[in-house]
Amino acid sequence: MLVLTRRANQSIMIGADVVVTVLEVRGDQVRIGIDAPRSISVHREEVFRELEAANREAASTASGALEGLTALRPPPDRRQKDR
């Protein structure tokens, strides 16, 4: 892993068009600003990892389990709930 030391308001460039800026350091928290093209998605790692795990679990459903599912319907109280 590349390790760089930066101060508040200093930045790091990743490639030609991703800029990561340290905005503020306070105690054990760091606020970071990220400028990146739209084609690059930026997420908090733990949120992304959670989504990966959820997708893998959802994709591994045995097809046998699907049989009962088609009978499952939205509960009427939810369907007609007022907005």
């Binding site: 739209r38 084609s39 998605s41 930026v42 997420h43 908090r44 949120v47 992304f48 959670e50 989504l51 990966e52 795990a53 959820a54 997708n55 893998r56 679990e57 959802a58 994709a59 459903t61 389990a65 699907l66 009962g68 599912l69 088609t70 009978a71 499952l72 319907r73 939205p74 509960p75 939810r78 369907r79 709930k81 907005r83």
Partner: protein
């Protein structure tokens, strides 16, 4: 209607956990009244499928805010351009099945491009009960 005749969805970035799976087809699961469909990969060698549903049926109050980046990438101009689906994790018994409201699938109805959005600070979870527990 065979699968081949159904419109293909294209996930330019794949899905988290499946970055290399781009081409999917949406097939209804069960009869016409079924609220569920299967999102099935068309990629060779990638035998991936997800059960999906329309979130409005089970979660009428669900109103995710799609981030500008996702909307931009899918070239969505208004909310009407978007078809929203959520991935279901099927459990045994099926009444314990959950839906992933943290990462809804957003489809541009016109271009058939799609992506899984990540609602970072929404408070939604990846496992919300489809049927309320009593």
């Amino acid at each position: 209607m065979t699968e081949e005749e159904l419109p293909e969805l294209h996930f330019a970035s794949g899905l988290p956990g499946f970055p290399d799976v781009h081409r999917f087809v949406l097939v209804r699961l069960g009869d016409e009244a079924s609220p569920f469909s299967v999102l099935r990969s068309l990629e060779e060698g990638a035998d991936v499928e997800f059960v999906v549903t329309h979130p409005g049926l089970f979660f009428p109050d669900y109103e995710p805010e799609i981030d500008d980046d996702t909307a931009g990438r899918l070239e969505l101009e208004s909310a009407d351009d978007a078809l929203l689906l959520v991935i279901v994790t099927v459990a045994d018994p099926v009444a314990d099945s959950t839906a992933n409201l943290l990462g809804p699938i957003v489809v541009n109805r016109h271009t058939r491009t799609a992506a899984q959005a990540v609602l970072g600070s929404s408070g939604y979870a990846t496992r919300e009960a489809l049927v309320p527990t009593t």
